[in-house]
């Protein structure tokens, strides 16, 4: 999947460079800053909600226009820590118990993608695109102590102590697709917003972004 995305991106850039108009695009590059809402898919065996939603995202991006319609975009960004409360049934001393834990997850990412921008030299430009995102994910899971009721002594006692697993770091490479638009406020300054879907065994992350930028 990743190699297919890379191939499409390289082919798109090559075609764009070959088809470049003699006068070049209206704008050669742009930069933008965005804030966003990040949603991470974190499946847990017993949770009804597999998504970590309450994450504020911030990022910077820069793009290079090969033509008025084709642009290569590089984005760097990161989110605040998101939390997910989990529980796992356990069985000890002939009693059903529950192990509660709190997962903390945080991502920093670098994305490179290819966009197709509709229209030319207008005030509103929708776009679609795709690319690859490399994310550094940090996870920490804090487990609550497990208490159980001892029927013999008729008191509750600690069966498992509290513990913390992590922080664990790992790198994830995922293809993404996106759609959004640029709405110009002046000849060069614009408002932008988009939605990105990162794919890995289904939709792995949904990122909504909005921000401002300027063309050069």
């Amino acid at each position: 999947m990743l190699s297919a995305v890379c191939a499409v991106w390289l082919a798109g850039s090559a075609v764009a460079a070959a088809q470049e108009a003699p006068s070049g695009p209206i704008s050669r590059s742009d930069v933008q800053f965005v804030i966003g809402w990040q949603n991470l898919h974190k499946p847990a065996s017993n949770n009804s909600d597999d998504w970590v939603n309450a994450i504020l995202f911030g990022g910077l991006g820069a793009g290079w226009y090969w033509t008025d319609h084709l642009k290569t975009q590089v984005d760097f960004g990161g989110g605040t820590s998101g939390h997910q409360y989990r529980y796992e049934p356990r069985f000890a001393n002939g009693t059903d118990l529950t192990q509660f834990s709190r997962l903390e997850v945080r991502e920093t990412s670098l994305a490179i993608g290819q966009q197709y921008q509709f229209f030319r030299n207008q005030w509103f430009h929708p776009n679609v695109g795709g690319g690859v995102e490399i994310a550094r994910e940090t996870t920490t899971e804090a487990y609550d102590p497990v208490f159980g009721f001892d029927p013999v002594t008729r008191t509750s006692r600690q069966i498992a102590p509290a513990r913390v697993e992590g922080p664990e770091h790992r790198f994830i490479a995922r293809p993404f697709v996106q759609t959004g638009f640029k709405g110009y406020l002046t000849q060069r300054a614009f408002f932008t917003t988009d939605m990105r879907l990162m794919v890995r065994h289904g939709i792995d992350e949904v990122l909504f972004r909005a921000g401002f930028g300027i063309d050069f």
């Binding site: 809402w37 309450a54 406020l185 000849q187 408002f191």
Partner: protein, 135 residues
């Protein structure tokens, strides 16, 4: 079953052979509209330079712009674009229609609406974000 099959076949036969049509069948050939270039030129020459116009070309493409000048064979128009572009010459032979484009609002008003929409969208987005985070 057999009756249904026969009924179906008859319907197809009626529809495809033309038995059900009335009158004489005539072959209709799509005709390209004929434009009198002289009339068009006379008309364009009467438009004052600086007029905001909408140009429809014979290939179906259209654009809006400002009429800058008229020659014997072409009109020179600067397109309405975000970043100003060089005026373009459109041969009168390629023009299907030119109409005066009455603006519905000023540029300042449009920019104001754009800024308000952008800020509104951002604030709305932040409100949703705040609601999600405080959830």
């Amino acid at each position: 079953m057999f009756k249904r099959l026969m009924a179906g076949l008859l319907c197809v036969a009626l529809a495809t052979t033309g038995c059900a049509s009335s009158g004489v069948r005539t072959t209709q050939v799509a005709q390209a509209p004929v434009f009198d270039q002289r009339v068009m030129k006379d008309y364009v020459e009467k438009l004052p330079a600086g007029s905001r116009v909408r140009v429809e070309q014979i290939d179906g493409k259209s654009f809006r712009g400002t009429l800058m000048s008229t020659t014997a064979t072409a009109v020179v128009i600067q397109k309405n674009t975000r970043v100003p572009e060089a005026p373009m010459e459109v041969p009168i032979a390629r023009v299907a229609r030119i109409t005066l484009d009455t603006p519905t609002g000023s540029t300042g008003r449009s920019i104001g609406i754009g800024i308000a929409a952008g800020i509104g969208a951002t604030l709305g987005f932040l409100a949703i974000l705040a609601a999600a985070i405080s959830d």
